[in-house]
């Protein structure tokens, strides 16, 4: 198993993790553990949201930079780590 696969497996195996989706900044799918259509929805919606968050942050301060985005919802939490030209998205159910 490649190092990449090992990392993804380790993350997905964490408690309460529903899925991991990795996309490039355009929202094009690179790797996902969710089913294809849901993964694609996450890819598109979250890459758009990250783009807007990034723009907002630099509009407020041109020297600032988006580092992490946490979206808490009624049902779960979406965590997004944008780095270089990729995004790692993890969907986690909160502790019951």
């Amino acid at each position: 198993m490649s190092e990449v696969e090992e990392t993804i497996r380790r993350l997905s195996a964490k408690k309460n993790v529903q899925g991991v989706v990795i996309v490039n900044q355009l929202g094009l799918m690179i790797r996902s553990t969710l089913d294809a259509s849901l993964a694609k929805q996450y890819a598109t919606l979250m890459s758009d949201l990250v783009r807007m968050a990034r723009d907002s942050v630099t509009q407020l301060d041109a020297e600032n930079e988006l580092k992490f985005l946490r979206i808490r919802t009624k049902k779960h939490e979406i965590m997004i780590c944008p780095e270089r030209e990729y995004l790692m998205i993890v969907v986690q159910t909160p502790e019951a």
């Binding site: 408690k15 808490r72 780590c81 030209e85």
Partner: protein, 61 residues
Amino acid sequence: EAVIPQEVPELTDEERKAILHSTDFVEFLDHSSKILERAMSERYDFMKDYTLGLDDTTEAV
């Protein structure tokens, strides 16, 4: 020349493979997975009692 697709394009298997094996991507994965693992290990329970917030206690429509 390839026809420009109307829909959002997808990466080809070849492009995907090239990314997965690039140093850039491997470094990204290493870095972001560490940050995410830390974020996940946090006691992120500040919403615990509030997940069913005000909105849910008002009358259903």
